[in-house]
């Protein structure tokens, strides 16, 4: 596949294990002209705050940013559905010339009266900073008038990467923390951070912790509620998922309220069990917690193992390519795929750090390609070279996998079923199995020519 060139300036962001000493460049702004799979600051903020279902989410800017983020993530709410509507100031040319502050104030005024939200988040998009709207001042005024928190989110798209958007979201969210009463919070209590309840995953995780005797004060932000966030400083421990999104929040809560945090991942058997055991260990003064946790893990694992083994029979020896947003998820996926007997031949992320990539390269077999901020050409090149049978990615990657005639699993926000938790591991295995063994691939040229594929594609 030498026919596909790799951009000289991109070479430092691609590493092949064993081929050279480990070194990878990352955290860079994407190269102008790359067909990167990444998004912007606003996207990062929107992802983090979106699941708070009783808040108003007003997007200040031209219509696009509101239209493209209207109910596209499956972050489920058990109560209000306000977050699933799309509110925009829909800035027009004259607003760009004369400023959008008046329109923003009027919009907030009308919306807060009509929907009576618990709080409002106001997202700044690209041009808001450029035209000089003082969003913070408008928010302050409206908060005073309406008696609810009105929080500006400084998420102008160009002001960094998606990760900076996480930070902006955490800054806004943090202003709610500490505003509620901590009455009735048990010393055995946690906040679950960085879990967005895609497909109802937060509900599963919450159930495990509650069964362990741990109170879950708030989930940030899956099935989120403003009041829960407001009293979250009463929890004894923060459990942070995901490499980037809510770490900023955990850091701020540690600094201001002295709440320690541990990291967790809920994907795959090992990591899910570890997430429970680590919390149990934190509350080791209560020995029953650890006992209960062992019982839960034993019960859940033995419930899924028979079917996992059966699926493994078909999947053993197959190869997977992973391209996800945060590198932390990739760690879990590599381990989860091992349970299915599958080897990872390509792994990449949009936002991984140097330490993340170092961990990835330790986890992978020799020859595995590691990519930071990849483009579709690079992804397809290595998928073919490494003969992957499965691609795990998000919305933009799915049709690329299918065009090449290989299986696909959405491990991003478009997944419909919970992949977290023990039960989620089984869902994951079933989905991978269904896609990899789909009868459609017998009609795909790549599969038909198995064994001759490389020659075919070299031609």
């Amino acid at each position: 596949m030498s026919a596909i060139p790799i951009l000289e300036a991109r070479k430092a962001q691609i590493h092949q294990k064993g081929a050279e000493p480990f070194d990878i460049t990352c955290g860079k702004h994407s190269l102008a002209g790359s067909v990167s799979q990444r998004a912007c600051v606003f996207c990062g903020s929107r992802v983090v705050l979106y699941p708070i279902a009783d808040a108003l989410h007003l997007i200040h800017g031209p219509i696009g940013c509101a239209a493209y983020t209207w109910d596209i993530r499956g972050a489920l709410s058990s109560g209000p559905q306000l977050h699933r509507l799309s509110f925009s100031t829909d800035l027009r040319e004259k607003d760009v010339i004369f400023g959008g502050e008046k329109k923003l104030a009027a919009a907030l005024d009308e919306l807060i009266d009509a929907y009576r939200p618990k709080a409002a988040f106001v997202y700044s998009t690209c041009i808001v900073g450029i035209i000089g709207d003082d969003v913070a001042a408008v928010c302050r005024k409206l908060a005073q008038d309406k008696g609810i928190p009105v929080l500006p989110v400084h998420s102008e798209g160009f002001k960094g990467t998606k990760k900076d958007g996480y930070k902006a979201a955490c800054d806004a969210l943090f202003r709610l923390v500490g505003t509620g009463s901590t009455e009735g919070i048990s010393p055995l209590s946690i906040n679950i951070l960085g879990e967005f309840n895609i497909g109802g995953e937060a509900w599963m995780i919450r159930k495990y912790y509650e069964e362990m005797g741990i109170q879950v004060v708030s989930i940030m932000t899956g099935d989120g509620r403003v009041d829960d966030v407001a009293r979250s400083h009463g929890a004894s421990l923060n459990v942070v998922q995901c490499s980037g999104a809510l770490t900023f929040m955990a850091d701020m809560m540690k600094e201001t309220y002295g709440i320690p945090y541990i990291r967790a991942s809920y994907f795959g058997i090992d990591d899910m069990a570890k997430a429970l055991y680590d919390v149990a260990a934190h509350f080791s003064t209560q020995p029953t917690v650890m006992e209960t946790t062992r019982r839960i893990v034993r019960r859940e694992v033995s419930a899924i193992m028979p079917e996992l083994y059966r699926l493994k029979g078909d999947l053993s020896g197959k190869r997977a390519a992973i391209y996800v947003g945060g590198a932390f998820k990739a760690f879990s996926l590599i381990k989860a795929l091992r349970y299915l007997g599958m080897a990872v031949v390509l792994v990449g992320s949009q936002t991984g750090s140097k330490a993340d990539y170092a961990t990835l390269q330790e986890m992978c077999n020799a020859g595995t390609v590691i990519l930071d901020d990849a483009n579709p050409l690079e992804l397809s090149k290595y998928i073919i070279e490494k003969r992957a049978d499965l691609f795990i990615g998000g919305v933009k990657e799915r049709p690329i996998a299918f065009k090449m005639g290989i299986g696909f699993c959405d491990h991003n926000h478009e997944r419909k079923i919970p992949l977290a938790g023990f039960e989620g591991m089984l869902h994951f295995a079933r989905e991978v199995h269904a896609s990899v063994t789909s009868p459609v691939w017998q009609f795909a040229p790549a599969r038909k020519l198995a064994g001759h594929r490389e020659e075919e594609f070299r031609a």
Binding site: C40, T69, W70, Q81, F87
Partner: protein
């Protein structure tokens, strides 16, 4: 009730859009550019814009969608995006090697005031554009018009940059199909081909966004109008442009630049509009209508007569893009149905609104029309005055579910059903398909609601 937050009482809103029935210009420009062969659309703005556009188009077409970005940083937003765009052009031709790059602007680059032609000229002067390759552009500020405007602007740019009059008029007819599905473009061309007419159609997304599974990932699929064809369209005998909002600017520009006379028609949705299209083709090309087309027409008329008894008097609510909404309204009125709530989200002008009012002049009910309006108002109208059928994009399904009204999915985006990119709704055959969908929806409901006594076998 997902939309439980929709208040029944309608209050005039001064400053905001809730649940938009439109999105911003750049995605339309990107879609149009994908209809040029070997073209890489390029978004001159933040990284998020093109990520959202690509994701939205991917969800709608279930196909890989490529584009590049200038990936604006804070520096670029202060000092202008020249360096980013020049570097992007260089990188794109080096790595992805398209035939042509179609640059569109965004709210950010427009607000900063980047002069794209000047930047492209600099890139050329610096030798960044290889021999035989092209860069063209359209200004698509997100705060003006809508996604349809963006499509119109990019289509017009194809004329402005490439069309040449060589002094000799060919017999070729130019077709400007409008912001329609790949399948519609194919059908529009097929009708002309059956009539023995040689055509140049632009843009043309057939085979680009409904391509086959080949086992290979192709960044630039088959399909799309070639630059050579675009150059030659200035010497065609005439232009037939479909849809005033999406296609008129390009048709007029071609007339002004190369003296190619143009006819601007409704989109060929339904009997009368297709008659007008076929008749215009016949006159412009000086051909006669072959029996094959008369047969298709006769079958449509026959079907309308067969099913009129189930269609007449049915009240319909329509939301969508302006050219589709107008043509569809005329078709439904022609079927003796009653469009009573009509909204397009795109600002389309007073003249457009008048055409819409004229189209429903025969409808005996009170008719609500709003240009531009949003989905919240649409829903409120429906709550106050229910209908028998809703025609709209996927977002209308929430309204349909909450109000328990049958829905025919039509327009952009459709995220939850297949068919739109493969089966046309244009021409006589397309009208049959549209009728099939409408009848299925209405008759399924009739069957569902029938009691044991009135249940009919033969309909």
């Amino acid at each position: 009730m997902l939309l439980r937050h929709t208040p029944t009482e309608i209050k005039e809103r001064s400053a905001l859009t809730v649940n938009p029935a439109k999105t911003c210009q750049p995605i339309g420009a990107m879609y149009a550019a994908l209809g040029v062969h070997g073209c890489l659309p390029h978004s001159h703005g933040s990284q998020g814009c093109y990520a959202y556009h690509r994701s939205a188009l991917t969800r709608h077409f279930k196909e890989p969608v490529v584009a590049a970005t200038s990936a604006f940083t804070e520096g670029a937003s202060v000092f202008g995006g020249q360096a980013n765009l020049v570097q992007a052009i260089d990188n794109i031709f080096t790595v992805y090697n398209p035939e042509v790059i179609a640059v569109h602007t965004t709210c950010l680059s427009e607000t900063i005031g980047d002069d794209v032609p000047q930047i492209v000229a600099k890139a050329k002067a610096d030798g960044k554009v290889p021999e035989g390759k092209y860069v063209f552009h359209a200004n698509t500020p997100s705060y003006v018009g809508s996604h349809v405007t963006g499509f119109a602007n990019m289509t017009k740019a194809m004329v402005e940059y490439f069309a040449e009059a060589n002094g000799l008029k060919s017999k070729t007819i130019n077709l400007i199909p409008g912001y329609v599905e790949p399948a519609d473009m194919a059908e529009i061309r097929r009708l002309a081909t059956v009539m023995g007419i040689t055509t140049i159609m632009f843009p043309d997304t057939a085979k680009v966004l409904n391509g086959p599974l080949t086992g290979k990932y192709k960044m630039f699929p088959e399909g799309g109008v070639t630059i050579n064809e675009l150059q030659k369209c200035g010497s065609s005998a005439g232009t037939v442009a479909l849809g005033r909002i999406a296609s008129m600017p390009a048709a007029r520009a071609l007339d002004a630049k190369c003296k190619v006379p143009c006819q601007i028609l409704d989109l060929p949705i339904g009997l009368t509009a297709t008659d007008a299209f076929v008749d215009t083709l016949r006159q412009t090309a000086g051909v006669s209508v072959p029996d094959a087309i008369n047969l298709e027409r006769g079958q449509l008329v026959d079907t309308i007569s067969d099913w009129h008894q189930y269609l007449y008097g049915k009240r319909v609510a329509i939301v969508g893009d302006p050219d589709q909404v107008l043509a569809l309204t005329r078709f439904l009125v022609g079927l003796d149905m009653r469009p009573v709530h009509i909204i397009t989200g795109s600002p389309s002008g007073k003249k457009y609104e008048k055409s819409l009012r004229d189209a429903v002049a025969r409808v005996p009910d009170a008719v609500n029309i709003r240009v531009p309006g949003d989905m919240l108002l649409f829903h409120q109208w429906l709550k106050n005055n229910p209908v028998d059928l809703i025609i709209g994009n996927t977002y209308a399904k929430y309204i349909a579910k909450d109000e328990d009204i049958p829905l025919v999915r039509y327009g952009f985006p459709i995220y939850d059903r297949m068919g739109h990119s493969y089966f046309s709704t244009m021409g006589y055959r397309g009208a049959l398909r549209l009728m099939e969908k409408i009848l299925d929806a209405i008759l399924d409901r009739k069957d569902r609601d029938a009691d044991d006594i009135t249940m009919e076998l033969v309909m």
